[in-house]
Symmetry: C2
Subunit: 405 residues, 2 copies
């Protein structure tokens, strides 16, 4: 089988990319790039340059771009929109002026969901969410429903959520790629079904951006949020992004009214008027330093190109499923993720009783997938940084562990 991995690596059009990430000395196989992306080597240099030239060199002038220094990303004041535009272009299939970098995914979910619930016509007092979705999406929706006197309608998954949307629905919240199973939703169809019911759709793109192609413009998507520390390689806790379709900017009003979302932040006058365009989603001072590595991650992704990234992602997950069939299924492991790559995101989840302990044993050997209740091992295969050899080594360790009992 190692001939097969070598063959796949040799034929990989993105074979040059894994070497452009920093080394992890004791790691045998990193299979968790869907949770925390590896650091691009250029991110370290970009951070060093940032501290010396931009923070120390420009000091307060960095905000407006005065002084001796010009950042490729423009004055810091413009980063929320400029980096938002870059995310939109590279990863979301969205137009400029629709996406902003800010806060965390949770806070942005709160802002956009609140805005959508508040703007719903009378009688639309239900929010549909998925029992199977990432916890923060569920908790945010429950909190908003409680405070606005709305009801949460629970769907098993995104397709059921779309089917449940009706005359009482204000908003549907769902992930495009399921964080546990990697099931990939039909973004266009779900959006259309929700909109046909007169409701708005809020996508969580955390597990899709950077791994599967997105076309928010083509879907006519209403709202979306996502994190940047997975396939976009922004680093631990890097800022999140929010997308709002342009015609909704004047209709929706998010509740966290801060100085940076005001029409003129530096006037500092009385009374809040939201900025026109996507900027109204921003609240406080943008997290500049924490966004520096993300810029490098986006550059790498743009250089590779969406089609090649998706092709590599599919090849990686297909290879993992192939090894699963040969090595793991005979040992009683089950495949949780869809077998059809057209319905699967960038990770593969497998299950067997006792996988919590097995995952710990893998970690002790330097093989790093992650674990999700109940008994799930998630193999996150980042298209830019993962080799086929790495997938093989990781699953060979798992096979050996299981075979030994």
């Amino acid at each position: 089988m190692s001939g097969r991995a070598a063959e796949l690596d040799a034929a990989d059009p993105l074979a040059g990319f894994p070497g452009r990430f920093l080394p992890s000395p004791d790691v045998v196989a990193y299979l968790d790039g869907n949770s925390l992306g590896r650091p691009p080597a250029a991110a370290a240099q970009r951070l060093a340059d940032f501290v010396r030239d931009e923070w120390a060199g420009a000091l307060i002038r960095g905000w407006t771009g005065d002084g001796p220094w010009t950042s490729p990303e423009g004055p810091w004041m413009e980063w929320p929109e400029r980096i938002g535009d870059r995310i939109a272009e590279v990863a979301l299939g969205a137009a400029p002026g629709t996406t902003v970098l800010a806060d965390s995914t949770t806070v942005l979910l709160y802002k956009l969901a609140r805005a959508a619930v508040d703007a719903a016509p009378p009688g639309r007092t239900e929010v549909i969410a998925c029992t199977d979705d990432f916890p923060t999406d569920r908790y945010v929706v429950e909190g908003i429903a409680a405070e606005r006197g709305a009801a949460v309608v629970w769907a098993a998954d995104v397709d059921e959520a779309a089917a449940l949307a009706g005359p009482r629905t204000a908003l549907v919240v769902a992930s495009h790629v399921n964080f546990r199973t990697a099931e990939l939703a039909d973004g266009a169809a779900v959006t259309a079904a929700v909109q046909a019911a007169g409701a708005r759709m809020l996508w969580d793109l955390s597990h899709s951006a950077g791994a599967v192609p997105l076309d928010l413009a083509g879907w006519g998507a209403d709202l979306a949020v996502g994190c940047t520390y997975k396939f976009l390689c922004g680093g631990p806790g890097s800022p999140a992004y929010a997308y709002v379709r342009p015609d909704l900017h004047d209709v929706l009003r998010q509740p966290v009214q801060g100085w940076m979302g005001r029409a003129d932040p530096f006037e500092m006058g009385p009374g809040y008027r939201p900025a026109p365009g996507i900027r109204h989603v921003v609240s406080g001072t943008p997290p500049i330093l924490g966004a520096v590595p993300l810029v490098v991650g986006l550059d790498l992704l743009a250089e590779a190109g969406t089609a090649a990234v998706r092709a590599k992602s599919v090849a990686l997950t297909e290879f993992a499923v192939e090894l699963y069939d040969e090595w793991l299924a005979p040992l009683g492991v089950e495949l949780v993720s869809p077998r059809d790559p057209a319905r699967r995101g960038g990770h593969v989840t497998i299950t067997r009783p006792g996988f919590r302990a097995v995952c710990d044993a893998l970690w002790a050997r330097g093989v790093l997938p992650d674990y999700r209740e109940p008994d799930g091992i998630r193999l996150g295969l980042a298209p830019l940084s993962t080799t086929f050899a790495e997938v093989e080594r990781g699953l060979a360790e798992l096979r050996d562990l299981l075979a030994r009992g």
Copy 2:
């Protein structure tokens, strides 16, 4: 006069500190440390180490502290509380378990103010805020009042706010050091007055932490928030902090229910139950990389010690006022800040018609104060990084500009 600056620098017990910040080649005098602190030289090294050893070396294991690496700040999952404790100890005069690092000041203001308004007894439907406060504080309060059907009562300043607190007041929001004038409130007296009226007090400490001594425990403070990129040197857009008095943790409930604020984030089960203790204030994934320089800033502050920092701060602002009296008052400049150092924070604001253009001219000469409407030049004197010579050079340039008309 330059003899005087040299004398003060020679006698400065903190004279070794300015040299521990990175150089800014073209900057003649940095007088805006109250807006963006300079980068500690050790922050650059700490960031490089973080990227290599923690992000690349530990990868996903950084969250739990497994693997070959141990961070001095502990597993990333614990950073919100551990760095919160450090801020509490070094800058806030608060006990462990009361302070958490998260989000931006604006978002934390929203969370705590919403929690306090929601928990107020029936009939307490007013929030008092100051017309003179930093815009985000005002906008957040206006937004919350609008959504909760409360009224905003405007006070001219923090003392008037305390005096206005009465049987209908739910919450008073005010800055401990005024962002424009540097007026320093009596934290203990204001807190006591607001609490005597049966209301809760939410302090914005953005312009005080790291420059003036704080004693949240001694004041019996209810709630506080603040940013870390001013005197704490966390870098542009570094995360903010929130303080909640221990007995309020079970009483107040902030509205942004995210997975990181749940009792057990990794259970990922149905239904949100807030974590016990201060952790319930956290919503999304903590901004780890963006918090790295802050750790270094806090270490520098701890090394210098609160008393020495305040003494240097007072000496710097006294020297600025001295130069103002001698050089600037005769040229028609007025002092906005209190003359009594006991009532003044870490900056000095002066005014004269046309100061917008004068500030631009100073920037062109490498002298960097900041400008605040109307016609205010703010001299922010960071105790750890500012020299007396720097203050003198900056004000000499201002004098020359004004003298030339």
